[in-house]
Amino acid sequence: MIAFATSIKYMFAGYTVILTVLAFYIVSLFFRWRNLKRDLHTLHEIQKKSL
């Protein structure tokens, strides 16, 4: 049987990793989206100026 303290320590570590990786990916999606939107806006501005 795994000791209570050991068990809870590893459970906490496991959930921390799961939530951190998932959160990191969602944040990365958000920032990539925001940067692309900014690029798109800049490109549209350049197009307008060149017309």
Binding site: M11, G14, V21, W33
Partner: protein, 232 residues
Amino acid sequence: MKPQPIFLKVLNVVSVLLFLATLSMVFLYAPLEATMNYVQKIFYLHIANAWVGMLGFIAAAAAGVIYLIKHDQKWDNIELAAVEISLVFFLIAIISGSIWARPSWGAYWTWEPRLTTAAILEMVYIAYLLLRQGIDDPDRRARFSAVYTIVGSISVPITFMSIRLFRTIHPVVIGTNSASSQGSFDMTSKMLATMFFALFTFSVIFVTLFWHRIRLGQLAQQVEQLKLEELQ
């Protein structure tokens, strides 16, 4: 780029609510396992992440097949989205499994069939992302990626079946355990209900993130197209 569809907005909210409900079930509804205590609670999310990881790799192969038939870049974008999200989920499954293994097996990692095939599977798709970056021509890149995901998907059933085909210490959740398996346990009906609920939740989260990632790919294609027009 079109604004977020209403159904995607609903999915965002549903995903968060389902995730919170899953955590509640894991900690408040599912009973404490007698031998492993709290560390067994990693299992619910570990198995759900592995499930959606494998699902996405198969989805990528299906998108690859459709690309080879239709030659539409849309399917290359879908394939890339599926691979990227699956890599994240499968990485979570590998790391959470290692953390569970430490108190259960006495080691974070051992080169037994399931862990080895899972590591190979993850590396096969990391290589996919790296190799894609080395090809500039979009059509050649998409054709290469489609063939790669179809061939790479062979490693999914191998990984899934490895604990059933080989002598392994990794427990089999559904089915008969190998005599050498360590850390297996009998699931009560409440544990089973929690596990299936977690599987459902992560399937919904997968669909939500998949949709977001596809939209991101579409936006990237749009930006790329405008850049090319500016250069000409």
